[in-house]
Amino acid sequence: MLTEEQQALKPNNPKMTARDVNVFYGAKQAINKVSIDVDMDNVTAFIGPSGCGKSTFLRTLNRMNDTVASARVEGEITLDGENIYAPSMDVVQLRARVGMVFQKPNPFPKSIYENIAYGPRIHGLASAKADMDVIVEKSLRRAGLWEEVKDRLNESGTALSGGQQQRLCIGRAIAVEPEVILMDEPCSALDPIATAKIEELIHELRGRYAIVIVTHNMQQAARVSQRTAFFHLGTLVEYGVTSDIFTNPKADRTRDYITGRYG
């Protein structure tokens, strides 16, 4: 495995690209001309003050904005070179390939096993019960939850602690073998110990999945990511190697934010 330093300096291997993306909610523009590449081998962090559009932009990457009636997206976003807003793109497939983990853990009110099995089942990824068992175990292991729950897979997912619930949600996303995982402030509802576990997990998952994490916590961005994008008022102010952004920001707005002038 590469060291943190080496990882940071590896050349970009873009998994998703966005070009001149505008997002509108009704008449209000939420994202203005954002262009960015999401790297396959690196964890990308979106930072910025609240209301800057980082979560909105994240949701355009798997078209979750489609569920908001008034939302409209302009520009081009590609996954492996394919425009995800093209009519030929199937949103069901897209979301299976680009998984998402939400701010607040949202396990379904079903058993732990059924939570993990939900995605493979709707997408028909396992035909036999034995196959499903393998997927569930593999996903829970990757989510670092297997040892804690292997004896109580039939208990409700909502009975777990907050941190465990969030790891269950990560496992649920992993179970459909996505290529990209989007995380929308995954630790904001968790305590420091649970947060540390999730951060460790992100570290483990890097390289296997392209990971984008939205966070308002700059220390977290510095800890888990190799690429950082700074959003402000719906625009992308600066994007680059994380260590550069934090030690030597090019834009004044980035510096002011990082040094705590506003936020």
Binding site: D90, V92, Q93, A96, R97, I122, H123, G124, L125, K138, R141, R142, A143, G144, W146, E147, V176, E177, E179, K197, E200, L201, E204, R208
Partner: protein, 422 residues
């Protein structure tokens, strides 16, 4: 965190083949299921709305004819059939002995040929009597009156009768004495035995009186209860009992209130049977919980900051409520009251229990007179065998629905106009 590292060390990732034929077929099937489900939902909405349309269509189709009446112009010559009453002393009692039935029937036979009296309504002589009472001088004249036709002729005029009636109607049409027009008597008369004579005014007045009693009782009591529970009630076992009672009363079947009215108001307290007073009291008990619940929601919606502001300038708790909270909550309370009243207006079962199903041929003069109400009148007419009652029943339903629609429309208007977002 030891387990993940071992699994991750052996990369077993096998990317899903999304473009494969099997997967494409599966996705197509999933989308088909999605479309089916959506259509199912749309079908449910359309079926429900379609049923409503069918119901209204049937009622209007049947009922529109109920607002019209066929009349036959009949010449009556009082000079050949003299009534020996001095025009100066004519009144209902002196005419009672004049055998107007026979005179009318003879006139009909004479003008319309043999069997002519079967073509006019059996109660047509009442119209003759009213004409005489109106102007006693006609007793020495030859007059032409428009008399209601018999049910058979009436139905024939509306294209729905037996062949003999059709033929008789055709003959009448040729002689040009028959006409079908708006039946103003339907809106001004009361119940009668003959469908051509009935009207809804008696039942309608009964409904008005009943609603008046219901409103006067349930509104103040309901609002007072809502205010007390929401603003003053201490948290105690007996206030819990009040709350539970109100919630239960809101769910009790209406017929149970009828049994209560029968056992308490009629048998125990000996109030007059069949009267709007008892009907209104019974319905008030039913409507009160609706007003209380709506009132509490409206009062709850008034923000606490307004109470704090009033208390802060030294208002007493009673002043706070009556000067500030109640005026702000009033539109919501009124909306709930109108909805509760609309429900009471359409209610039938409890009123059957307290005897408001009597045959009421004269409109009630007050709240203690025997009365019936519009829904009960509909129920009574629906039981009649005479075919002419079908259109009258449907016409009465149209009137009732129009009133309910107007009340609900008013409630929606109030809600929209005064809806405040704090």
């Amino acid at each position: 965190m030891n387990a993940p590292s071992t699994t991750l060390a052996s990369p077993t990732r096998n990317p899903t083949d999304w473009k494969g034929a099997a997967m494409q077929k599966r996705i197509a099937a999933r989308y088909a299921a999605e479309r089916r489900f959506r259509l199912l939902g749309m079908g449910a909405v359309l079926l429900s709305a379609g049923f409503l349309a069918f119901l209204l269509f049937t009622m209007i189709g049947n009922g529109a004819r109920g607002f019209t009446r066929t009349e036959i112009a009949l010449q009556i010559d009082f000079q050949t059939a003299p009534i020996l009453i001095d025009p100066a002393t004519v009144n209902a009692q002196s005419l009672a002995g004049a055998n107007l039935q026979a005179i009318t029937a003879q006139a009909a036979d004479k003008a319309l040929g043999a069997g002519g009296d079967a073509l006019i309504s059996p109660n047509a002589w009442l119209t003759v009597r009213d004409a005489i009472l109106d102007n006693p001088k006609v007793l020495s004249q030859k007059i032409t009156l428009s008399l209601p036709a018999s049910t058979g002729i009436d139905l024939a005029a509306k294209g729905d009768a037996s062949e003999t009636d059709e033929a008789a109607y055709a003959r009448l049409q040729q002689s040009g004495v028959v006409s079908t027009g708006f039946n103003s008597a339907f809106l001004s008369a009361s119940d009668a035995t003959d469908p051509t004579q009935v009207g809804i005014w008696g039942a309608f007045k009964g409904s008005l009186l009943t609603m008046l009693v219901t409103l006067l009782l349930s509104f103040p009591i309901g609002v007072a209860t809502a205010l007390y529970l929401e603003e003053y009630a201490p948290k105690a076992w007996w206030t819990d009992i009040i709350e539970v009672s109100i919630n239960n009363l809101a769910a009790v079947p209406s017929i149970i209130f009828g049994l209560l009215g029968l056992a308490i108001f009629l048998n125990l307290l000996d109030f007059p049977r069949s009267a709007a007073l008892v009907g209104g009291m019974t319905l008030a008990l039913m409507t009160m919980p609706v007003i209380v619940i709506a009132g509490r929601n409206a009062i709850k919606a008034v923000p606490p900051s307004i109470r704090d502001a009033a208390l802060g300038v030294g208002a007493s708790p009673v002043q706070v409520v009556f000067h500030h909270v109640l005026p702000l909550a009033l539109p919501g309370i009124l909306t709930g009251t109108i909805i509760g009243m609309a429900r009471a207006l359409g209610e039938t079962a409890p009123l059957l229990m307290i005897g408001m199903r009597a045959f009421i041929a004269t409109p009630p003069g007050g709240i203690t007179d025997p009365a019936t109400v519009l829904p009960v009148q509909i129920f009574l007419w629906s039981d009649e065998v005479s075919k002419g009652f079908i259109e009258k029943t449907s016409a009465a339903i149209i009137v009732l629905l129009a009133f309910l629609l107007a009340m609900n429309g008013l409630a929606i208007y109030l809600r929209n106009k005064f809806e405040k977002r704090w």
